[in-house]
C-alpha cells in the first residue's frame, strides 16, 4: 500500500504501524508517532493497522526554543 511518511510517499508491505517502522528503518529508534493527526503511543503501534493513503508522522527529539 502507499502511505505518506513525514509528507513523502512510501510503498510499504507492513500491515501495522509497528511493522512499518521496522520496514522503514526505525528499529530501536527514539521516535514518537502519529497517524492521520492522531498520536499513537508506542504500546499501541502493533495494534494500529495502516490503510492506503494514511499519513504517518515519525518524530524525534530536536533542538527547540
Amino acid at each position: 500500500m502507499k502511505i505518506l511518511v513525514n509528507g513523502a510517499s512510501h510503498e510499504i508491505a507492513a500491515p501495522t504501524l509497528e511493522a512499518a517502522l521496522l520496514e522503514l528503518g526505525f528499529r530501536d529508534r527514539i521516535v514518537a508517532t502519529a497517524v492521520n493527526g492522531e498520536f499513537v503511543a508506542v504500546q499501541r503501534r502493533s495494534g494500529r493497522e495502516l490503510s492506503d493513503g494514511d499519513r504517518v508522522e515519525i518524530l524525534a527529539p530536536m533542538q527547540g526554543g
Binding site: N6, L24, V31, A32, L59, P61, G64, G65
Partner: protein
Amino acid sequence: MRLYGIELGSRLLLGTAGYPSPATLIGAIEAAGVEVVTASVRRESSGARAGEGFWSLIRNLGLRVLPNTAGCHSVKEAVTTAHLAREIFATPWIKLEVIGEADTLQPDVFALVEAARILTAEGFQVFPYTTEDLIVAEKLLDAGCGVLMPWGAPIGTGRGLNNVYALRTLRAHFPEVPLIIDAGIGVPSHAALAMELGFDAVLTNTAVAQAGDPVRMAAALAKAVEAGYSAFRANPMQPRDMAVPSTPVLGKAFLG
C-alpha cells in the same frame, strides 16, 4: 525556585535551537549553569540520526527538559504534539505554545487556555507561553497551570520587555505563582529588568544562540539574572523627580 514541585537553583532557562554547533550549545549551557533546557519534536528520517544525537547530548549533561509545542496553530495540533513530546522526553512538563499570528508569533490565547485545560486534565504540567494579559493569566490558572510564561516581546525580536506596566501588574496580582519571562530577551539588561520586577526566571534562546559569542553571552545572561534577582530581594529604592544630596548637609563648613 520551585516549578511543579521541582526545586531549581538556576533562574535562567535556555533554548537549544540555532546554535552554530553542538559544542557551542554545550558551552553555553555550562557557562550559564542552567538546569532546564527547552526542546522540540520534529520529523526524523530513518537515515539521519540528528535527533538522537541531540537527545543523548542533553541527557549526558543531566539536564531537565522542557519540551515545547512550537509552531502549533490549533488546539488539536498542540495537544497531539504534547502527547508526542511526553512519550519521547518522558516528562509531564510541556511548554505550551499555540501561535495565533505569523508575523508576531503572538499566542492565540483562547486556544491556549483550551489546550491548557485539556492537557492539565490529562496530567501534564503546563508552562503556557502567553501574553502579559491579566485575564488570560487568570484563565490559565483556572485551567490548572501552575506556572505562567508571559512574553517580554515577540519571539526572536530581542526587544526586551515591551510592556513593563502590564508585566508589573501581572507580578503584583499573582505573587505566589511562578512567572517566567519567555521570549523577547535580547541582552542581559533585559533579563536583569525582568528579575528586578520580581519575575521568578527568564527563558531565552535567540539572545544566546544568535550572539557572536554564544558562550560568553550565556554567562552574561546568567549573571544578569542573578544580579536582577538579588536586586529585587534587596527592595530597591523608589525613583523620584528631585535631587536629594547623598552627602549629609548638616555639619558642612560655612565657607561662603
